[in-house]
Symmetry: C4
Subunit: 263 residues, 4 copies
């Protein structure tokens, strides 16, 4: 299994890089999340999460989005109301291909929100899969009911969701980062089993991403979906297209309509 | 039956405490609801109710939220449009373990909104159950259609709703105030029968809370749900997770999918 | 049939009253719709219609609300986007028990919006039924899909919709203006047949209101619902409770659950 | 087949007209999209698209609206998040009866957004069908799930969607630009097959518009709908009425209710 794992040897250079970055460029780590630019990740994440909340994707503190820019990864805290996040709550981690940060190992952080009791999203190693294996610029995780219901309506042993002949397929990219699919193509999204702890999904997600190199997302049975893209715009567009297709597929299955083909 | 009840002897100390508080600390009872802090209960309750309205939880003046902070309980008036409440409409009651305020008994109030014709929410004694029996910091009541439809789709004699193997279960706490449930755990929410008058639910809700000490909420058949938490944030998170599960369970029942297990 | 009708003799005093009001109290008819009070009908109607649009009640220019205050009736123009109405678009008519304004008969107006091409809502005589027969202070008309679908799911010859044992029934008043119903009561809303022109519903609505004196609303098959109340707050509360019950009833019928009783 | 096509000879006069307009009236092409008037097309299109996003019509960058005013056609870029468009992103094309602009042929543009990488909506030639064949002032394209599901629930060989006896039919105009339909009339919307590339729908849409001169819209199987009107207000009103009818028809079909007649 080739899922990236965090090990002492791998973390070493990351910690060094973080120190280097901090000493050379950053006087105050708070500068990492202070910006007047509404498209700065620390401003975007709160705004996007408010939109995701309205869509029913991140209620009950679930789900979220992580954005990678240059050598930094921005993400929300764990277990907080995603529609109420502020820029000052955003965590910033150094990005390195070779390591997945282990939740709670604080030395990997460039910035830890000063508000006590916060820890970074439990999805962190899963977001990392998208960053390292697909060179993604952003990864979105939702608990959308359409995604979850779809994993329940499909046969119990289904390894993936497949659909074709839908216009919205054209908004999804091969592998999440390549060229867009065509109307006649069959979109395929692997389904993995849920685990007790979110971080334990890391390996299963990585395996599915290897087995399905064309997949733009990973469905987690009875849980939700992970979607990524080259940029936050592409990740969001694909998350919307896929959620639309999940919802449409649920309706089609309930009406006994085949998902693949144009019969 | 051990549901807290209001009696002359129990109310005596409350009234005294209220007087003491008023004489010692508070010059103007209006100060209890005047604050620039957006997280002050008098500001939070109107804001949260606007959000609940958009979710369809409190339309037609139904439902609401009560927040307890220190020795004060804040709640909305009865029979008003919950999405239009202002801080000046908020009632403030003294909190005492030993008493449940009887709706309309005005001497228990630290603050009665000056606008004529308002009376405190009919849910007051039900909120009190959560405060006294689970030491809750907040309690939410919704008329969500998902909660009501679920009580209709389950067998007529079902004493509770049970579901397992759903990620959103992990947002719910044992007893509403303990540790969070795990993915494989079976969440159980008791269902009680509705009564003609809301305050007559008090005893039935208390009995169910005793019988189901791990329950984080009480469903009321053909009516709605009461959900509590240590803080307003936890109460809201659990209300969202439970509403998500109620909705998902309705869909699963309509598609003949079992609610418990992972078959 | 006792539906109020507009006749030359009945309109005479109205026109006179209007002239009297104008000469005595009003310098500029625009004053009728200029107010800093957000609860002035000319400000409320646009705001409420924006909310109704979000609920799906008034899309496609359908539906709306009319408010009666003192001797004036305020209503929106016909055929305009209800979520974009401004105070300056509001029509003001004199209210008189004995007359129903005939759409387009301009001498009955105290104020005609200066913007060319507007005419008052085609629902005007239907709103008048609520004002004259139930002394209503406001009347709401929606094209809610829940109302329309319910009229299609019920038997073709059903004269009314009945439901009992729902908490939300308690938000509805006997006759729309009396005491609130109780949980165990059976709520009944008559259903009338639609007509080619909206104003031709006037008589059928009046007949149903006479035949069902306890009804708080009139359903129009394949069209929508009219709901009224003593005040705009009560009309809105009842419209929300009824729409909730229409939606719940559709779900119950689709799940083969009986609407009346608690079996 | 008489669908308007772009040819070298037809484009010549357009290019000349554009040059003439530019030299005579316009100093800076940016003036075409700068206006304080909220109803200027460059301001309206972003605002309307935000509303369409909330309705689920344009998620995943799909769908949009084009407005024609005088000799100019305004439209959004292709492949961008429609709820985030700004006036500065709007394309402006010269309007000429005799030509359909070929996407990407830049000499036809009066204004090309300066932001790099944008190209005009792929729907451009389809919007043109509405402008040239029905003299429309605006055309809306949605990916509404109601439209798409309806094309799946109807028989595979259905050439059109038909419905009667619905109040909302009265908001739709004959041919999209004539008199409004009546309650008893049968509304008919042709359904065409989807194609791999959006612009390849141009001919099929034009054929259907010719074959169904009374149609106010064209459904595209497994894709969405195109709706037009004399003005943007009429196009939006008709898009809302039709979407309501598509949704209602889906529910009726799922409940085995006939779409035509009042049985």
């Amino acid at each position: 299994m080739s899922a990236p794992t965090s090990s002492a040897s791998a973390q070493q250079p990351v910690a060094q890089a973080a120190q280097a970055t901090q000493s050379q460029n950053i006087v105050d780590p708070e500068d990492l999340i202070r910006s007047d630019d509404p498209e700065h990740p620390a401003n975007l994440i709160p705004e996007l999460c408010r939109g995701f909340y309205k869509l029913g994707w991140v209620t009950g503190t679930g789900g979220g989005i992580s954005i990678r820019r240059d050598d930094h990864v921005y993400l929300a805290p764990s277990g907080v109301q995603k529609e109420r996040i502020l820029p000052e709550h955003i965590f910033v981690l150094p990005f390195a291909q070779s390591s997945v940060p282990k939740p709670g190992s604080q030395r990997d952080f460039l910035r830890i929100p000063s508000k006590k009791g916060l820890k970074e999203s439990a999805c962190t190693p899963l977001f990392w899969n998208a960053f390292t294996m697909r060179n993604a610029g952003a990864c979105i995780h939702t608990h959308s009911q359409h995604a979850v219901l779809l994993t329940l309506l499909l046969p119990r042993d289904a390894q993936s969701f497949q659909i074709s002949h839908q216009e919205m397929i054209k908004g999804v990219r091969l592998g999440g980062n390549g060229s867009t699919l065509r109307f006649f193509d069959t979109l395929e999204v692997p389904i993995i089993e849920n685990t007790a702890d979110e971080e334990d999904l890391t390996e299963g997600m990585a395996e599915a991403m290897e087995k399905f190199p064309n997949a733009a997302a990973i469905l987690v049975r009875r849980h939700g979906v992970y979607v990524w893209g080259n940029t936050w715009e592409q990740a969001k567009t694909q998350a919307e297209c896929l959620d639309y297709l999940f919802e449409m597929a649920c309706k089609m299955l309930q009406n006994k309509l085949p998902l693949v083909g144009d019969a």
